[in-house]
């Protein structure tokens, strides 16, 4: 085989390998859409489960996931953005900064089930919140920190240095510069990171298993100290724990969850490309 033939052969091979990696993604999504779209109607989305969850809708689970995502945002955004500002604007190349970076890398790598254990140990038991929306939001919020911190830091670093120099030279303090010049320009990037992080959080099951998720609740939650149903856990329950569960409801639930999570991912992606196109500096 000549070198040119070898080149052609090898490139052909890795093209096939890349297809093997990517085609299943399309298949997975297409399959869930095709199987699940039939069971989605207004009633399915807005009513409560009946007949041992074998009939009716999944509204409590949808609502629970929305509440938890909102709670995650409240916990995560202030800490993550402040930490990103610290890393991008204030932190020098010190040992402390290196430790902070190491901590963030490790937070990103800790298995989600370990976050679940942490939430159980700290929020549910030690602080006495019980299995509640509060405990679940705190757990998910902490789990989401590393994603948001790193994207927010990148967005802040992408703001050109001369903006800061001009602002400082006009007599603004460091914080005024950050608040009035840097953050507004970094905002689209920060929002992208937040949405991405929330998409992850909305689809997570393991961290909410012991901190908030309820098997089946007839009532919607009334306060942040109540349990709630949530879509990922609901999908787990109806596919493995309930016998004689109609497949259509399982696929419908999977589709709703997938759509919520993917639309967040998609919004983040669109936001990012638009922001890149608009950037004028």
């Amino acid at each position: 085989m000549t070198r040119q033939q070898q080149q052609k052969f090898s490139v052909g091979c890795i093209t096939i390998v890349a297809a093997v990696a990517v085609v299943p993604i399309i298949l997975i999504i297409a399959f869930i859409v095709v199987q699940g779209v039939g069971s989605i109607n207004w009633n399915f989305l807005t009513s409560v489960p009946t007949n041992g969850m074998r009939d009716g809708g999944i509204w409590p689970a949808i609502l629970g996931t929305l509440i938890l995502t909102f709670g995650t945002a409240i916990v995560c955004i202030p800490i993550a953005v402040a930490a990103a500002i610290y890393l991008a604007e204030y932190a020098g190349d010190t040992r402390l900064t290196r430790w902070v970076r190491l901590a963030i890398v490790n937070l990103a790598g800790i298995p989600s089930i370990v976050y679940g254990l942490f939430g159980l140990g700290v929020f549910v038991l030690f602080l006495g919140f019980g299995t509640s929306i509060l405990a679940g939001s705190l757990t998910l919020g902490i789990m989401t920190l590393p994603v948001v911190i790193s994207t927010a830091e990148e967005a802040i670093l992408a703001v050109p240095q001369r903006f800061r120099v001009v602002s400082l030279s006009l007599g603004a303090t460091r914080w005024q510069t950050i608040w009035h010049q840097v953050l507004p320009h970094a905002l689209p990037g920060i929002i992208t990171g937040v949405i991405l992080g929330l998409g992850r959080a909305a689809g997570e099951t393991a961290p909410i298993l012991f901190t908030v998720a309820a098997f089946h609740l007839p009532d919607l939650p009334h306060s942040i100290f109540d349990q709630t149903m949530a879509l990922p856990y609901h999908l787990y329950v109806i596919s493995t724990q309930v016998p004689n569960m109609p497949l259509s409801i399982q696929y419908g639930t999977a589709l709703v969850l997938l759509m919520i999570v993917l639309s967040l991912t998609l919004i983040a992606a669109l936001f990012r490309t638009r922001m890149r196109r608009r950037r004028t500096w």
Binding site: A21, V22, A82, T97, I113, F210, T240
Partner: protein, 322 residues
């Protein structure tokens, strides 16, 4: 307000306005500045605090595992928690088998895809493939687990396995969950290789494939190792998918190719399946946290090692850009 709008002294290119709400000017400027800087510093340091807290609470609840159970028993082969046998070896080996299988599938698949994306794919393909891989990263593990449960397991059973719920089923799903990490990290590593190296090699008459194989891959080596390590971390910590598709039998698989086609039970799945049913303060409860300590330690070591590569990679890229 109106007056301002009518007198057209506004500069044409109004820079983006500040955020809508302002910090109240009650405190003197210096004091505000000081307080805000403290707060921001604290937010940064809180990440360290959280890691320490997680470790502290795992230890607090899980320490009796390593104090009350003799080591010989702890690494024994029997996991019958209701009868007081807490041998972790079946769970550890279950995790190892599933992760090994996932890595055997995901590493060649991920690295080659990254090479294709980074070195050979035309621009239009890249613009389709990269968002698709991001979408894969976004699919919740429970959805993949669900598909494994209703589709993949029956297929594998039809292929001749006694049951479809095997380590291999889990490995296959985990492989696809680890792919986005492996692809994006190794693509970054390939991207960081200076263009001069490629150009020199091509100028000497090497084909693009030879250049990739002999020049680019060795230069990107450390980043590729990091990609694999992060992928392993992903796979070993995954919970819901393996809980659904690996059969959850706490056996020790016989070493050999057949070990992939037996039902196994991982550490993560054990925590997820059993924590809901144990009373707080029992030894079983403590042992589940003990398993958490093992998982935390393994991923901590993997990520700390990988982050050393991140540092060197980022530094090199910065040099490349200068």
């Amino acid at each position: 307000m109106n007056a301002i709008q009518h007198t057209e002294v506004r500069p044409a290119a109004q820079p983006q306005q500040g955020l809508v709400f302002k910090v109240p000017n009650i405190l003197p400027r210096r004091l505000t500045e000081f307080l805000i800087e403290r707060l921001i510093w604290f937010a940064g340091v809180s990440t360290i605090l959280i890691v320490v807290l997680i470790f502290y609470f795992l230890i607090r609840e899980g320490l009796p595992t390593f104090l009350d159970i003799p080591l010989r028993e702890l690494f024994g082969s029997r996991w019958y928690p209701t009868e007081g046998h807490f041998g972790l070896w079946p769970l550890i080996s279950g995790s190892l088998v599933v992760t090994l299988g996932a890595i055997l599938i995901a590493v060649p698949l991920g690295l080659l895809t990254a090479i294709y994306l980074g070195e050979f794919a035309p621009q239009w393909q890249r613009e389709i493939l990269k968002p698709l891989i991001e979408i894969l990263a976004g699919i919740p593990s429970i959805v993949l687990g669900f598909l494994g449960w209703v589709i993949l397991a029956p297929i594998i059973q039809q292929l001749g396995a006694p049951t479809g719920l095997t380590a291999f089923t889990g490995s296959l799903i985990l492989a696809y969950m680890a792919l986005p990490t492996i692809i994006s990290v190794s693509e970054d590593a390939l991207y960081a290789v200076p263009k001069e190296l490629r150009d020199s090699s091509l100028a000497l008459g090497a084909t693009q494939w030879q250049t990739t194989l002999r020049v680019v891959l060795p230069a990107a080596r450390s980043g590729l190792v990091m990609a694999v390590m992060l992928g392993i971390g992903r796979a070993i910590g995954e919970t819901m998918a393996v809980l659904m598709v690996t059969g959850n039998a706490a056996n020790i698989p016989q070493f050999g190719p057949s070990m992939f086609f037996e039902p196994i039970r991982t550490m993560t799945a054990t925590i997820a399946a059993e924590m809901g049913e144990v009373a707080q303060g029992t030894l079983h409860y403590n042992v589940l946290f003990g398993i958490g300590i093992v998982l935390f330690t393994v991923t901590f070591v993997l990520n700390s090692l990988a982050s050393r590569f991140v540092g060197s990679q980022a530094a090199r890229r910065r040099k490349g850009q200068l």
